[in-house]
């Protein structure tokens, strides 16, 4: 099943992972604050990563459509940026401060 992929599918290039951080509606959709995600040694594009996450967690898909993304604390500006093993990839649903 796609939803079990986070835990059971071996990484392509075993042991290479990035950390997914979820906030607010994204966390509610998946039910966890963070998890590890397999990634090849050369990394993967933001576009590919979002497609994989949507497939694994269909409830996250509508949240991703309205979210901003950060790699190691820096805002993602292009979907063809490569996310590399060891990085932190944060999903920011629409903000609600103030």
């Amino acid at each position: 099943m796609a939803a079990t992929r986070t835990r059971r599918t071996p990484a392509p290039g075993a042991g290479l992972r990035l950390r997914i951080l979820l906030f607010a509606a994204a966390r509610t959709a998946v039910g966890t604050r963070s998890f590890e995600w397999p990634v090849p040694a050369q990394g993967t594009t933001v576009r590919e990563l979002l497609a994989q996450l949507s497939e694994a967690h269909p409830s996250l898909s509508p949240v991703l459509a309205h979210s901003r993304f950060f790699r190691d604390g820096r805002a993602v500006t292009r979907r063809d940026e490569r996310v590399k093993p060891g990085e932190e990839f944060a999903v920011h649903p629409p903000y609600g401060g103030g």
């Binding site: 950060f70 604390g73 609600g96």
Partner: protein
């Protein structure tokens, strides 16, 4: 410049002190407080704020730089609470000190509008369902057996 995410209560007086400068004649401080809005689950009693800390502080700091550039603000504050903030408590303070009032008002308005749109902070509502009235204890009268 002063960007801050705080677990502790925010003080308007402290923000004013931070902005005070003998060369700056206009100071505007905006404080946003938690309201007791009605919700289907009952009235709001608190908001639970969460931030992605490093990016939030970076965006706050970038905002202050922008305000200084655009409006000539000499001093700014951009403070936000995190954690549980009860009704009536201050959740956010922004402010600017400029040479004159027009810039100070415009700078402060700009700060709060951009903060709400661009700073990675989220809130969850904590509401309290109104309790049904407690039944009165019934009093038993002692019966006379005589």
């Amino acid at each position: 410049m002063s960007a801050r995410l705080s677990l502790r209560p925010l003080s308007v007086a402290a923000a004013y002190r931070e902005l005070a400068d003998p060369n700056l004649g206009g100071i505007v401080v905006f404080a946003g407080r938690v309201r007791s809005d009605p919700t289907p689950a009952g009235p709001v009693v608190a908001l639970l704020y969460e931030a992605h800390r490093a990016p939030a502080l970076q965006v706050l700091s970038d905002l202050e730089h922008e305000v200084q550039r655009r409006f000539g603000a000499g001093r700014t504050v951009a403070w936000h609470r995190v954690g549980r903030v009860r009704v009536g408590e201050v959740a956010v303070i922004v402010g600017a000190a400029c040479g004159h009032r027009d810039q100070a008002f415009a700078a402060t308005r700009f700060l709060i509008d951009r903060l709400k749109r661009n700073v990675p902070v989220w809130k969850e509502v904590r509401a309290r369902r109104a309790r049904p009235p407690r039944p009165r204890p019934t009093r038993r009268r002692a019966r006379s057996t005589g």
